[in-house]
């Protein structure tokens, strides 16, 4: 099965407020508050509006963080992306 492509929320849809170890995210579309921990805020920040799959994201995040290998990170990112999609914070393209 090909890696699904995810799209970030439109600009201004999310209000992100770091609160120590937690990050509170207010989704203006659903009026819901989400509480997430790392790496969710980093993933959201790295996402681009026109859509990306886990492998692209892994490559992008590898530039900012110390990864041993993009291949190891990709399945983890795929899982986190599907969790973010379940919360409605990203969407399947």
């Amino acid at each position: 099965m090909p890696d699904p492509i995810y799209r970030a929320a439109p600009p201004d849809a999310l209000r992100v407020e770091p609160l120590g170890e937690l990050t509170a995210i207010f989704d203006r579309r659903s009026m819901q508050t989400h509480l997430v921990v790392s790496p969710m805020p980093e993933i959201l920040e790295a996402m681009v509006a026109d859509g990306c799959e886990a492998v692209t994201l892994a490559a992008q995040l590898a530039e900012s963080f110390d990864f041993d290998g993009v291949d190891d990170v990709q399945p983890i990112l795929a899982e986190r992306l599907s969790e973010l999609a379940a919360m409605g914070l990203v969407a399947r393209a």
């Binding site: 407020e17 609160l19 120590g20 509170a24 207010f26 009026m31 508050t33 509480l35």
Partner: protein, 288 residues
């Protein structure tokens, strides 16, 4: 309704109607010192009514009505009419108020700065606030604290303090009997007796205070202080707010700001003397 009264508690103007005279007379006693503006329209309405006309006299039982109701709430005997009124007032505010973020928390203030205490029933937040309010603190409220979304200030809701069980004797020993309501024994919440806040606290009820310290008290166990992170304080206060969801982004903004700007601690204490000592210690550090 046959009997009625208007009461202003902090920013909320109540109108309470009753099929019986006794609960209104008890409210008149408790709230006689509160400033009243007869021209202000009511924000919240509470009705204490008999389910059937004859139940005004035969085994009188008080149903609680108003703008918001709990459908399956059991009526209370007339001897607990004051408790019924209090429950009705709390319900209208908890479910209906939108102007401020409402925290299920007690608060006291000193020098224009507020100490906010949030906790479940039985945590002692009400008793601690009542005892501090008899010292050199201004009692802001024993049950609800309102946060102004734009300024971030805390506003008082100094209703009659609801003393429960052991707290009744602890506080009654320190205050003039004229400031106490009737003892209601064996209510669904235990023994209850209301305390009228001090006149200076009532007179200052419209004065906002800047939140300076957030405490999450827990009654029982050894004395302990635990610093609390912003994230945990945020989660706890969303649970302690009755209108967080209804306020949408205004509530989110107010709450993130509150937990960022205000140091927070969990405290455990075995008795109220220790609890007050912990509060004063943390306040001395926070107020620096």
């Amino acid at each position: 309704m046959r009997h009625s009264i208007r009461i202003a508690v902090g920013p909320v103007q109540f109108r309470i109607g009753s099929d019986w005279a006794a609960p209104i007379a008890a409210l008149e006693h408790l709230y006689r010192g509160y400033p009243q503006d007869e021209t202000r329209p009511a924000d919240a309405t509470v009705r204490l009514f008999a389910a059937r006309p004859w139940r005004r006299w035969v085994r009188p039982s008080v149903h609680i009505g108003g703008d918001f109701v709990v459908p399956d709430a059991l009526p209370l005997p007339l001897s607990m009419g004051l408790l019924a009124a209090e429950m009705g007032m709390n319900l209208q505010v908890a479910l209906g108020w939108r102007r401020h973020m409402l925290l299920h928390a007690s608060a006291v203030a000193k020098d224009g700065r507020a100490l906010i205490m949030s906790g479940e029933s039985g945590s002692g937040k009400s008793t601690l606030a009542a005892l501090l309010g008899e010292g050199d603190w201004r009692l802001m409220g024993d049950e609800f604290t309102l946060i102004e979304p734009v300024s971030g200030d805390a506003l008082a809701f100094p209703r009659g303090v609801s003393l429960k069980n052991e707290a009744i004797a602890a506080v009654a020993a320190r205050v003039d009997a004229a400031r106490l309501g009737p003892l209601m024994a064996g209510t669904p919440k235990g023994d209850i007796r209301h305390l009228i806040p001090r006149a200076d606290a009532i007179a200052a009820m419209h004065e906002p205070a800047r939140p300076a310290l957030l405490l999450f008290p827990r009654f029982g166990g050894d004395a302990a202080i635990e610093p609390m992170g912003e994230g945990e304080a945020f989660v706890r206060l969303t649970e302690a707010s009755t209108n967080y969801v209804a306020l949408g982004e205004a509530g989110f903004a107010a709450l993130t700001r509150l937990v960022r700007e205000t140091p927070a601690f969990g405290i455990s204490y075995p008795d109220s003397v220790t609890g007050i000592a912990l509060v004063e210690q943390l306040w001395a550090e926070a107020a620096k």
